[in-house]
Assembly symmetry: C2
């Protein structure tokens, strides 16, 4: 080759960015393509959704991350598909040719075919998702405050989180803290602490990848924070007014105005254009070298890759994506040097799931932690990994502040006020659920 | 009266909040109604628009401000009109009766009847406005980076700010800093410092309420930061591709993909339902007691009030709104005690307009400041007035960080990416303005 090989990286998440950075001193030209201008620290996204952090605390411009890397270029663009045969990435406008391609476009939430649930039960993958959830949650308390009808008020104060994985556990715990502590004294007609936070899991226990005793501990810690946990409860219907659980023959309805979806993920649709076999979740089944079979120059990493190590599937977590990103960079350098890369090795450093203030579980394989020490470990790991000193400092201040005061700094309802939480009416007749206000002096909190 | 009089305050801005707080120990029931859940520190909104601050740095939940005030109630609701005769506020759903009413719903930007300009030239009054402008500005640089056509690239890198009042000056100065400093080394195909920032003012000088020598100093400071200033330039047309200036017979077109409107305000439409005469900007012409003629129980304060003091109109600035808010509370207490309030007195504490890093002008009547000292005064005043200790601390950190590093912490493009900046296409054929990318190695910065 008489010019520098071009490495195109699709996706500026953990996998893509670590791959790009690992190529910093390599004799290649790197182009990182993302449809967002920012890298998102997804493990903390639930904190934006629950008003503890600001979007920019957990997001950082990809350009700024790679500013000093002279061989790296950043492109804000939508990728339509990959033409593996022609070694080209087809963008919504234009195309990019590559010598090596790293596909790291991740996953998004999946409604398992029930797409009608999406508008009423938002998931949590982007900044916009998080802001939408924040808006709905804060608005629900406002609507409850002015709702004279007791049944309706209860529905506004009922929050259902679907899915007992780490995200569901984090969201449920954080919502319980918002209701029990943050908003405690802010309302005059309702008692926010009377809000019902319900975590619903279809399987027999929450946090299924963890050891059973940690699942049990997490459920206990959640209940201690004020959230309810229901297992073996399959969601069979969601609408703007509640959730239908498929218990036995009849089904059981829970009236809830706020439902948050944390139940499933599906891989980026880009994987389908690579011509490789996909698993059930749409992830690309790669070789042990993380390549697409038959195309050594195409690597798939992060949540989009389906690969086993030591007989177990590599989980879709940030540390795995980071390791794959670094591996991909090394593998490309090996090939440029005429060497065949060694297979990818996954180092499982353990799992951490946070539940709330001083509440978490940690599984480090040889030993486990729960409660305060697990939470401290979680805190340290997450602050350490936040990209960029600035975000680290601000997040620490926000957390310290929240810890001391029980307050949350980012309690803003922005965007279309009311619209997301209130299903559309014809816009002319008043919403029948919004009745004249009760007399202001008439303080009638809902029964506990 | 055998019950506590009810004071309803419409609007949780400076006027409304200071009125509510001044009634804290009064024997009245206070209800603050706002369609937003947050008070917004509008003087710093331009810093959100230019990616220096986060929304929640300058906004604070109204509930949290009034949490400890036992006689105050907060209601998130849309006000439709006031029925002055029946002493009722009509909400989108329900109504509120009052004994005293304080109307403090402020003003928004006005396009002087050219409503078609609104989608292409956003103004700056709400958090959403600010985020939209931030998105457009950051996206313009991204689009320029991937734009092969030189003319188009120039249009992406041209930013027109319409209106040479304080907001226009602040925005133009901040944009110049973003282009010259923040983004300096982030791009590979363009030189952000080559961006053209143009402040357009219809009158003979910018900052018209200031003494002429300060207007001249502000223009000089702006030019020093890298912005252009054009006075006596009337905007007669705006579309998605640029601005038409009505110079002489022919008009002159400036190709610009980003236009920001800072040219005019109009009062809240609620004023029209009070039955009082309005001025040209729609503000309510109140008595010297800030009441609606014939209705001593209805006070209008802040940007919605049109009142003269000492022969000069009271300006639509935060200190005036704060003074009016406190006055309104005292006036109501006077009336409850059977006394007739004294007329409102406005204490003009001077005016400050910031331009950029170490650049500002200040007019304190007896003396004026410009440059670094004016900027320092501006900094102190604004931090002092930010409601809530937390916001004060975080804003100081953000600013200190920005000062040391020339970076901006909130550089996120959120919301519908591309859509706001790229006018709609049919969604099927590629946007003709987005051509295939130039070869990555072919770095051709636009001519200076």
């Amino acid at each position: 080759m008489d010019r520098e090989p071009r490495v195109v990286i699709l996706g500026g998440g953990f996998g893509g960015l670590y791959a790009a950075r690992a190529l910093a001193r390599a004799p290649v030209r790197v182009t990182v393509v993302d449809r967002r201008n920012h890298h998102l620290f997804q493990p903390l996204l639930y904190q934006v959704a629950t008003a503890a952090l600001n979007p920019s605390d957990i997001a950082y411009p990809i350009r700024a991350v790679l500013r000093k890397q002279a061989n790296a270029d950043v492109l804000l663009a939508d990728v339509v598909r990959v033409d593996v045969a022609a070694r080209k990435v087809i963008l919504l406008s234009g195309e990019l040719s590559y010598d090596y391609l790293i596909v790291a476009t991740g996953a998004t939430h999946s409604y398992f075919g029930n797409d009608a649930w999406e508008p009423v039960a938002p998931g949590l993958k982007t900044i916009e998702d998080a802001l939408q959830i924040r808006r709905r949650v804060l608005f629900a308390f406002e609507a409850a405050e002015r709702e004279p009808d007791e049944t309706e008020r209860h529905a506004w104060l009922t929050f259902v989180v679907v899915g007992g994985g780490p995200t569901g556990v984090e969201v449920a715990g954080a919502l319980a803290e918002v209701a029990r502590s943050t908003l405690k004294r802010d309302f005059r007609h309702i008692d926010p602490a009377a809000a019902r936070i319900l975590l619903v899991e279809g399987g027999p226990r929450i946090l299924p990848p963890y050891p059973p005793e940690l699942s049990a501990s997490a459920a206990t810690q959640l209940r201690h924070l004020g959230a309810e946990v229901e297992v073996n409860a399959k969601v069979v219907g969601i609408d703007a007014h509640g959730v239908l659980l498929g218990d036995g023959q009849t089904g059981r309805r829970i009236e809830a105005r706020t439902v948050i979806w944390a139940a499933g993920v599906t891989a980026s649709p880009l994987g389908a254009s690579l011509g490789a076999p996909l698993d059930r979740a749409g992830r690309v089944q790669v070789t042990p070298l993380l390549t697409v079979p038959g195309h050594d120059e195409v690597l798939v990493i992060g949540d989009l890759a389906s690969v086993k190590y030591d007989g177990k599937p590599v989980p879709g977590v940030a540390p795995a994506a980071i390791q794959m990103g670094r591996y991909a960079a090394r593998a490309i350098l090996d090939r440029l040097g005429g060497r065949t890369p060694a297979p990818f090795r996954y180092h499982d450093k353990g799992s951490l799931a946070t539940i709330g203030r001083s509440a978490a579980v940690a599984d480090f394989g040889r030993f486990t932690l729960r409660g305060f020490w697990a939470w401290l470990a979680w805190l340290g790991v997450h602050i350490f990994f936040l990209i960029g000193f600035r975000n680290r400092l601000l997040v620490m201040i926000e957390w310290a502040w929240a810890y001391v005061t029980f307050q949350r700094g980012a309690r803003l309802i922005t965007g279309e006020i009311g619209q997301p939480a209130l299903p559309a009416t014809d816009g002319l007749s008043p919403d029948p659920r919004l009745q004249p206000l009760p007399p202001i002096g008439d303080k009638s909190p809902p029964p506990p």
